[in-house]
Structure formats: C-alpha cells, structure tokens
Point group: C2
Chain length 470, copies 2
C-alpha cells in the first residue's frame, strides 16, 4: 500500500518526530472544530522546515498519496478536514512555528506556516510593532491557514485582508519543488505572481510553509464607541462621516437589537452598553499612534458629537479605558454563542455585497427569506465597513428537531441567489472548503472551470487537499 | 485556411471596423518601437468592447488561431510583437478607450484596456484626482498593457507598481469566456484571485479588457530636489533619513556623474543642476496635499538641511517653481537618449536587488563586468528607492561595429548571473517578453516549469501571445 510506503520513507528520512500514527493522537484532527465534517487519515506527517515539507510532498507525489495541509484546524467551511475514505494523509505545519527577522525599520517579519496568530501578535509587540489582522480564532489559527484562506477579521477596514499584508511566500508545489518568494525585492516582473496564486487557494495548489509579513507600529491607544442607530443606512452614513474626518477607524461592526439582547440575556457579564433601546447598533474602534496629541476617546467624541446633535446617531457611549473597550468587544465576540443559545438552530452565511448596497440587501433578503420560509427569522451582523455580513436565518417558529437538515440547504440556496443578484460573494472571508463547493459550482460554473484548469495544470494528480474548493 | 475563416467570421459578426487587413495599416504594429523585433500578421482584429473581444477569442479558439494582444506597442522586451512566421493575428485593444465611473468618494475609476495612460491622467485630473503611476511612454502605453506587465515607473516608491493600483479586472480567458472581476466587493474569498493571476502575465493567460483602478487626490504642489552625493550608499542613507521625516517622498532616482555629463553635453537645454561636480546624483520628488500648511520646497529644505550640514549630502538644489521641477525631471527622462548619443552601443538591463544591497551590487557588478570584458564601461541609474536600476554596459574602447551582436549576450548573461547571486530579479519592471525568455529558462527552470503548467491548464492550445514569457 503506497500510504504505508510513504509513511515508512518519511520516518526513515525525517525521524519519528515527523510522523504521528497513534489513532488517539490523530483523532482530534479528523473533525473540524464545530464537528460538522469528519474524515479519516492513517497518519499525520509533520515536517520541521520547508526542505522537509518539500521532501515529504515529493515522496507523496511519487506514491500518488494525497495530502491535506493543516494548521490550527479552525476552518469554518471544512477546509482542513481530510476525506472520509482515508485516501489522504494530514500534513501538519504545527512544528514549523518559528518567527524570524522581525525588522522594525523595514516593518517586516518572516513567520513559518505553523505560527499561531496570537503568538505572532505577542512576538512583534516586543519590538513595538503590530501585525494588524485579528479574529476570534487567533489562539489557534495559524499563519499558513490564514494566508491560504485570505483571512479577514475585525480590522480589515484599515489594513485589508491577509492578501494586503503578505510580502512574500515560500511554498511547496504539488511536484515537491519549492517556490521561494521570500526575497526582499520591491519590484520583480518575472511573469505572474505565484505568491498571489497561493493566497486564498485553500491548500489546493501547494502548501505554504513560510510567509514574509507586513507590520505596522504598535498603537499608543485605542478607544471603542458603542452607537445606537435607526437603520443600517444610518450606519453607512456614520461610517462615511467618520472616514471624512480621520483615517484611524479600524473596526466598524454592525449588530441588530435582537443580537445584542441575546448577548445580554445569554452571556455572563454582558451588560447593556446604552441606556435606551435602538433597532441597530454599531461598534467603532479608533486608534492613535505614539506622538499623537489627541486621545482616541477625544477623536471619537469630536467626530461623533455632531452626528448625535443632528440625530444621525441615536445615542453613543465611548469607552473611558481599556477595560470598557474590551467589554464592548466582548459583546461583539460573543454574538455567535449568544445567538446559538437564544435562538437555536440557524443557517449561517458569510457573504459580502458592495458596502453601499448592504442596507437594501439586508432589508430585501430578510423580507424574501421570511416570506419564502414563513416562521424563520433572518438577521445580519458583522463587518459592515467591509460590506461583509454574517447573515443568519434562524429556525424561529418553523423550527423543531431536524429543521437544519430539512430546510438548511434550500435556505442557503435562496440566500446565495440573492447575494449573486446583488453582485456579491457567497464567501466573503471563510473560503469555500467543503461547505460551499456545491454552491460555487452551481452559481459560478465558469469560475470553477477556470480554477479546475489551474488545478489540472499545477496538480495533475490531484494530491493537494482533494475535495475542497472545486 | 483557418486565419481567413476567422477574419471572415469577425467581419461578419462585428463589422468592418473590427478588422484591419491593409498591409500598410498593419505594418507599424509588426515591429516593436525600438525596432528590435519584427513579426508578421495578416490582420489586426479590433473589438469595440469586452463582449466583442470574447466573441473574437472564442472564434480564434475554435479555429486554433493564436492572438497577440496589443495596446500601445511600447514593450521594452518584444512582448507585443507577433511571431515572425505569421502564425498569429494581432488583437488590438485600441478601440476600447472609454473611462467610466470616476468616483471621487470611493477613489476609483474604470478604464478599458486601450485607454492611454496620459488620457487617464487628464480625465481624472478634471475630478481633482490623480492616477499615481507614470512613466516615459505615458503618451502611448495603454492600461491593459500596463497591467499585463505590472508596470512600474517613477512614482513606485510611494504608491507601488500597477499591482497595488488595480482593484478589479475584466478579461477574456483563452476559451473565450469572460472573467468579470470588476465588482466593488471589499472581501471575496471564492478561491484564488484570477485578477492577480492576470497581472504581469504578459497576455499569455488571457486578454485584459477593463480595469477598475485606485485613484488618489490630486496633489496641491510638488517640489524636486537635486542632490550631489559621494556614493550610492550615501543615497540610501539620504532615502532612509527622508523616510524617517515624511511619507511624502514619491520619487528617488539615482544617476552617476557620467550620465549627467552626457545629458548636459547631448541634450538641448539641459544645464548643470549644481555648481560643483559630484560622483553621484539623486533626484528627489516630494508632494503635499491640499490643506497642508508646509510647501513641498520647505519640507525638502527642512529635511535636507541637516544632511548637508553633516556632509551626507554634498550639495542640493531645490526647485523654486514647477518649471524648475520639470527641468530636473527632464534630465532624468533624457538619460537613455543622452547615453545612446554619448556612448553608442550598450547592453541594457532592467534589474532589481534588495534596496540595501544595491550599493554593493553596483560596485561589484561594475568591477566584474569591466574585468571580464576589458574596455567596457558599466553603470547604473534609475529607481534606487525601489532597488531597481537600469544597468548599462557600454562598448567603450572594446566597441566598434557589431560589438552588441558579438558580445551582448555574454555580457547580459554575466550581469544576470550577478543579479541572481545577489537575490535579485532579471526583470524588475519591463517583463520577460521575447528578450529575456531564454535567460528566464536558463536561470529559473523551476519557475518556468510552474508557469508552463499554469499555461497548459488555462491555454492548452497555446493561442495567447505565443512565444512570450515561457
């Protein structure tokens, strides 16, 4: 059996640390963290560096054994779960967790694929620097996975998604060769960028092993404002007014009243941020650099005051200290858990539309869903500033045991139809993985044809993360 | 003959404006502008829009007729010249020259591929905006070609190459399908980016037809300083000191004394910018926005004065008005012409190395070349701030008729060997085209294998710009 031969060769060449075969050690990595997808794999292969990863991939190519690259296993779409038939092995990057070349002048560092996001934050902070991408899974998610899925998160508004923060990639291609894009060149026109091709490819075209990342100076201070508003359109108006006055807005998160109420009711220690109820809420984060005269609290206060005066903002509370800022973020970060506890089963959609189109989309999509599936409740929350909303459709009075299994797919198809109609994307930041593969093929057959052609060219034997994306 | 059938079908479906067959009208487009490459083609096909371009490519795919996409035909590497055997037709984008959706709030516009760079500059200037990429060929070069070659130019320091300025691409893929990446989404993770794959692909993977571009506010004022320096290392030190004091440095061009002397001697109206001679010179451009208190002259003066005081800068002249600023730029822009007139034949190399490595590279490469080919003179000038130098090796006393033909290739091979040794790129901004295809294959066989695999997947019949890049 070629898997056994491959495992034996890896053991022989790279030692016992490079192979895990005890089923008890493999088991936690066979399912995604939400327990929706389950796979099988007879071994986890764990290279110590890029050269070992290349050696392992070359061996796998020779034996035609497929590999599923895994970092922190925090995919929202089953992107890192091996196939159920045991036809692939897991290639884990977790031993590759070195951070090198932190350069406060060039504002760059190099991280191996297995570096956990939170560890990166801590390492660069020691040099007075910041890696300005963060998300809920930061304690587990790894750099390789974050690049492979072009991760977003809560600070995209100012610094962009992972694509904007990558300055170079080393990767192992499906034939076992090493692509070295880690050079410090500012200009290089030797054909199209292989680096760019690997970003967002979900491990289907190669395995990212090292990344040169852009850094920014650490912030001196941040403040968070909580706003009560009448509508998503008012939120857009507030965003545009803030952006006209400063370039220091880093987060802009929308949530509806019922989500806030759910958090207050379900999550320990969450208290109402405003004295009166409002149909919609926004969390705004602003930061200032060292050497700036104005505090972030004063900046937010100065910009928001006229909006409160003219009624655009119904009410506003600005954090007076870091503890209050964290308390506001805690509400936002607990929304998924709070919604699950309060409302039970829901279909979830990580979708985007052009920012200005979001208010109309939210209204139309909510109405259409509630008409098509009487009894459900539809609602969106999330990164309004990026045109990216997590659109949930809850069982509501239509629910009961098995509702998700019974109607979930039909609900998602309708949501995705509306997204495509609005010129949007059925995956804003989570990727396609296994979860949205069928929908991508249904809605974008031309795109899938193109991606398949790329895959056929680079990975003709299909050994890279089979069954994902296309 | 399938070319004739294709031409007849295009005529039938898209009218007489879409086909040029008069040899006198075709002739100017068969050679590159420097007259180094000559091709043959029986017709130029000229779609009026993306749909027509898709229809033409689909027909060409059906007839297996290759197409060479052409914009302004300003390639420095023979990238837009058809094959000499007449096996391809030219697909000219020149009828597609509309500029749409200039949006001063979103800071975006959409340009068709045939829009000439200078026309774009003028169109957005009417809205108080600027497209911050410019280069010598701006009066002819088109947006489609500039994106297909990831063009650089003289303002890369602050705004990056074309890749950093593209926000979306529409293109026709080799099977005639349309890739529409023009959406206004800020987040979209439906697999790897097809847009990014087309940037720098030199028309070998598809034909770019429309581009959504990033704009910046028009500058209120600019000033240019001319510096006399002792060495390239001093120039790097000046650059770092300027960058520590401001983010408004847009251009930073290095030139050696003999290049300046050549310009003064050969170009009408060029006068010495400084009173005394210096071995090296730098042109610095700084800009300020509307509403800024400080003038760019004062900004440059304030930052440069201490450098003059401590002897880092030997001498400095700051433009007092726009006419003087233009006079300084005229020296820089006339260097290629001045060098040709003063020194005759030279091999030219558009190369990059990491910025900090450039001083050592210049010294070592000059010494090595002059030792290996006694009598030649080697010298570099250009975009030092980007680590991108145009490295010329002049015939010198080794010259005489036929020198370029006799030794040009050997000289270039040695230069490229040194570049690769220094971790650099043999094409910083001009691309590969026909000129550097052999060198790319010699020095980077793995990279060429990967690019060929991509090409084989997307363009299995090889109908897109054959004979270029790989």
């Amino acid at each position: 059996m070629s898997q056994a031969e491959l495992i034996a060769e890896v053991l022989r060449d790279h030692g016992p640390q490079s192979v895990v075969t005890d089923p008890r050690d493999i088991e936690p990595w066979l399912s995604d963290w939400r327990g929706r997808w389950h796979g099988a794999a007879s071994a986890i292969l764990q290279p110590a560096n890029t050269a070992e990863a290349a050696s392992i991939v070359a061996k796998a190519a020779a034996h035609r054994v497929a590999l599923v690259a895994q970092g922190g296993n925090t995919s929202m779409v089953g992107g890192a779960t091996p196939p159920a038939d045991g036809s692939a092995l897991i290639l884990s990057l977790r031993r590759m967790n070195r951070i090198d070349a932190i350069d406060p002048v060039a504002l760059r560092c190099t991280a191996e694929a297995g570096v956990i996001l939170e560890s990166l934050h801590a390492a660069v902070a020691e040099h007075g620097l910041r890696f300005p991408l963060t998300l809920g899974a930061k304690g587990s998610a790894t750099i390789g996975g974050l690049v492979s899925t072009n991760a977003g998160g809560t600070q995209v508004l100012r610094f962009g998604t992972m694509r904007a923060l990558v300055d170079g990639i080393a990767a192992v291609l499906p034939d076992g060769s090493i692509h070295d894009g880690l050079s410090k060149l500012k200009k290089d026109n030797r054909g199209p960028s292989i680096d760019q091709l690997l970003i967002g490819a979900e491990g289907t075209l190669g395995i990212i092993t090292q990344v040169r990342l852009k850094l920014v100076p650490a912030v001196a201070a941040r403040a968070v404002a909580w706003l009560g508003l009448s509508s998503p359109q008012a939120a857009i108006d507030v965003l545009r007014a803030l952006e006209a006055g400063t370039d220091r807005i880093e987060g802009f998160e929308l949530l509806p009243r019922e989500s806030l109420d759910a958090a207050i009711a379900q999550i320990n220690g969450v208290r109402p941020p405003l004295a009166t109820p409002h149909p919609w809420h926004v969390l705004v984060e602003a930061t200032v650099d060292r050497g700036t005269d104005e505090t972030p609290e004063s900046l937010l206060g100065r910009l928001l005051a006229p909006m409160v005066d003219r009624g655009l903002v119904g009410d506003a509370a600005i954090s007076a200290n870091e503890a209050q800022a964290q308390a506001f973020w805690r509400i936002r970060d607990s929304l998924s858990e709070a919604e699950r506890k309060a409302f039970g089963a829901a279909t979830q959609h990580d979708i985007s539309v052009p920012v200005e189109a979001m208010p109309a989309f939210l209204e139309q999509a909510t109405r259409t869903l509630e008409q098509a599936f009487p009894g459900v409740q539809a609602s969106g929350f999330g990164h309004l500033g990026d045109g990216n909303i997590h659109f949930h459709v809850r069982a509501g009075s239509r629910g009961g045991p098995g509702w998700l299994e019974r109607e979930g797919e039909a609900v998602s198809r309708l949501v995705h139809d509306l997204v495509v109609e609005a010129g949007g994307s059925i995956s804003a930041e989570h990727g396609i993985g296994q979860m949205k593969r069928g929908e991508l093929a249904r809605l974008h057959p031309g795109r899938v044809r193109t991606l398949r052609a790329l895959k056929a060219g680079l990975d003709p034997e299909g050994i890279m993360n089979p069954g994902k994306l296309i």
